[in-house]
């Protein structure tokens, strides 16, 4: 059936896989109508998809360094785009983003602009040049361009800090989804999630992660788009992306009708609202007035964009393409695949908000009597797990807009139920969320363990280690790091989104300018790079501790709060790097020639076969 190699058969293989997945969804729908319980369907969805990923991970096992670190540098453009999209779109994008828009409205959508616009920076400033360099990891570039172990070590420090902050959030998300779908305690769910993640990456490294990520992208995008289109059709907008103009206007009308009231912290506390639940108090589409609001929007977008261009687990995906040209094209495809989900998220938020608010719709709950709302099955289900809450502040027995509390994740997870879609859709959404969180966690754990095994163990500690030993070390580190992340997330320290934004800020503080100037400024020196990395990292971290609500909680300067500390870190990094570079001796002519070679898109890679 398959002539030729694996790579040339990819479209066929993933075509079959997609077909198989659609058949599986139909099968589940049939089982549901035959009376199989919702719980079993949820279990089957998550278990079946995770087993498939594990199978792909097993089939992609390898004992070659090149395959383990960079998937043999033969991943075709479009497939690398899909893998990057899955690598990129985390549990936060899948589960929390629509909820964020639901509560935050326009202000929150700075994340959308930031998480897409960053790819323009990746494509123009970094990806093609890093590919030409031929490195295995991001610190590999820093270490070779600037020379010496110190810059390599500092870059590793930033990579580990940023990726580790991020990965705990992802393992947390896999735990949440696994515990809900498989009906096990959260602490156990975290470990189930970890085992699933390791099954995808341990045997085959980057190669295995690449092919599972493609499979995970297909599942997650299907799981996101089907409910959006289905719900859209139910409300008479078969293609909601272009047809919700009136609905957005309608929401603005409803907001002024019900009033956007802010609850006081004391009232919320007194009513006993569980932590992490929110209520609507921001306008959906109106732009808040004032210079500060504009700055808050822009500074968040800037942090997310620059952070995107500095995150090692994303940059390293472009090391796997066959050429510089394909690395560049691959960034474009990545963004296209990401765009498919991101431009649907606001529509999902709009649709689910309207369903709860518009009194003309049968699903509306705002403005109804509280006892009536409390008898709705989905409200009961989600109240039982403390994901929604009703607080009758004014005691009139009628549910007001500011009396309805909900966790942001519920927007994606419960919307199919709210809209009265069959349970099979909820199962599908759970599988999609699991795919999103797993694929990102895999990319991150691999980024950390590859960097430690290559840059610290092989390049600094034991440069004579043979291939077998290097790959054993890489795998042991993978397990250790995964376990450490799972242990920390089982302690439930941070909310999902706070931690994700921090990873971007850490990465931009320490890595953005050292990476970009390494390619674009020949005068950048080793001492400059070290100053840039450490200056950015230390100042950023210090500022985070200064303003972080969980730390010293001081008043932020100029509205630069804990989600935006990268603004401080990256500025310090730039200044430190330029000043120190200018004060130290110009890089040697060999280094300058290396930079010249990086700028030529064809020909041999800089590192060649040195690995």
């Amino acid at each position: 059936m398959f002539k030729g190699g694996f790579i040339s058969n990819l479209p066929k293989i993933y075509g079959l896989y997609t077909g198989g997945f659609l058949v599986f969804i139909l099968l589940m729908a049939v089982l549901e109508s035959a009376g199989v319980s919702a719980a079993s369907i949820g279990i089957m969805f998550v278990a079946f998809t995770v087993l498939i990923y594990a199978l792909i991970g097993y089939l992609s096992r390898t004992i070659q360094v090149d395959a383990y670190y960079v998937a043999g540098r033969q991943v075709p453009t479009v497939f690398n785009g899909m893998a990057t999209a899955a690598d990129w779109m985390s549990g936060a994008s899948f589960v929390a983003m629509a909820g964020g828009i639901y509560f935050g409205g326009y202000t929150y959508m700075a994340f959308l602009v930031g998480w897409t616009g960053g790819y323009v920076l990746v494509s123009t400033l970094l990806a093609p040049y890093l590919r030409k360099f031929g490195c295995y990891t991001v610190p590999d570039f820093i270490g070779t361009r600037y020379g010496g172990n110190l810059p390599r070590f500092c870059a590793t420090l930033v990579l580990v800090l940023a990726s580790f902050t991020y990965v705990t959030a992802q393992i947390n998300a896999t735990g949440t989804i696994a515990s809900r779908a498989l009906q096990i305690p959260f602490e156990l769910g975290v470990w189930v999630g970890l085992v699933s993640i390791l099954m995808c990456s341990m045997l085959g490294g980057m190669r295995a992660v690449t092919w599972t990520q493609v499979a995970q992208y297909i599942v997650l995008i299907t799981a996101y788009l089907i409910p959006v289109f289905w719900m859209g059709s139910k409300l008479g907008n078969p293609f909601p992306h272009f047809m919700l103009g009136d609905e957005v206007q309608r929401l603005a009308e409803l907001e002024s009708q019900y009033g956007l009231t802010k609850n006081t912290g004391a009232a919320i506390k007194e009513a006993g609202v569980p932590g992490g639940l929110k209520y609507i108090s921001n306008p959906h589409s109106a732009v808040p007035a004032g210079g500060m609001a504009v700055w808050k929007y822009l500074s968040l977008a800037i942090c997310m964009m620059v952070g995107t261009a500095s995150l090692p687990h994303i940059l390293m995906r472009y090391f796997t393409t066959p050429s510089v040209k394909s690395a560049r094209k691959s960034v474009a495809w990545s963004l296209f695949f990401i765009f498919l989900l991101y431009f649907s998220a606001p529509m999902l938020a709009t649709l689910s908000k309207l369903q709860l608010m518009d009194p003309n719709l049968p699903t509306a709950i705002i403005g109804k009597s509280i006892s009536e709302v409390q008898s709705i099955p989905w409200v009961q289900n989600w109240s039982a797990v403390k994901q929604v809450f009703i607080a009758d502040f004014n005691g009139d027995g009628i549910l007001q807009l500011n009396e309805w509390f909900m966790r942001g994740d519920v927007v994606v997870l419960a919307t199919p139920e709210v809209a009265g879609l069959p349970y099979v859709i909820s199962g599908l959404v759970a599988a999609g969320g699991m795919a999103a969180a797993m694929s990102t966690a895999d990319g991150l754990v691999l980024a950390i363990s590859n960097c430690l095994s290559h840059d610290i163990y092989y390049k600094i500690i034991d440069p004579k280690a043979d291939v077998r030993k290097r790959l054993i070390v890489a795998r042991v580190l993978l397990v250790v790091i995964g376990a450490a992340a799972a242990y920390i997330s089982s302690m439930r320290l941070t909310s999902i989104l706070g931690a994700v934004a921090w990873a971007f800020d850490f990465a931009m503080s320490g890595l953005f300018f050292p990476l970009v100037l390494g390619v674009w400024w020949k005068r950048a020196t080793k001492e400059g790079a070290v100053a840039g990395i450490l200056g950015g990292l230390i100042s950023g971290t210090a500022y985070l501790i200064y303003v972080g609500p969980k730390f010293m909680a001081n008043t932020p300067w100029l509205g630069i709060d804990h989600l935006r500390f990268g603004i401080i870190g990256a500025s310090v990094s730039l200044v430190a790097m330029v000043l120190v570079s200018l004060m130290t001796k110009e890089p040697s002519s060999a280094v300058q020639k290396m930079v010249d070679d990086v700028r030529v898109p064809s020909g041999r890679t800089i590192l060649g076969k040195q690995h």
Binding site: R73, Y106, M109, A110, L112, V113, G114, T116, G117, Y119, V120, L121, S123, T124, L125, P128, K132, G134, H241, F242, M243, L244, G245, D246, V248, Q249, H284, S285, A286, V287, A289, V294, Y297, L298, A301, I302, M305, P322, S323, V324, K325, R328, K329, V331, A332, L335, F336, F339, Y342, F343, P346, M347, D596, R599, V600, S602, G603, R604, T605, K609
Partner: protein
């Protein structure tokens, strides 16, 4: 100017043009969000639309355009070869 230098000059200019367009869609529009929102597109308030879809779509188109044009620049200077390594 050598071939290498003129290639890098063109590459740099192309980068600056691309980033200028990027700056417009990611920063400038939202700098004036309040007044932009007075306009509308497909019935959506304009700044809301740009933040939800418009700028995102602009970035996708921009990156494809960037990659294609850069390939042309590379080809013109004889750097279009597909295969490297070995």
């Amino acid at each position: 100017m050598s071939n290498k230098e003129s290639h890098w000059q063109k590459t740099k200019n192309h980068m600056f043009v691309t980033l200028a367009i990027w700056f417009f869609f990611s920063i400038v529009i939202f700098m004036f969000g309040e007044s932009v929102n007075q306009g509308s597109f497909l019935g959506y308030p304009l700044a809301y639309y740009m933040s939800a879809q418009g700028s995102l779509a602009a970035f996708v188109i921009l990156i494809f355009w960037f990659a294609n044009k850069q390939e042309k620049i590379d080809d013109e200077h004889g750097y279009g070869g597909e295969r490297e390594d070995d």
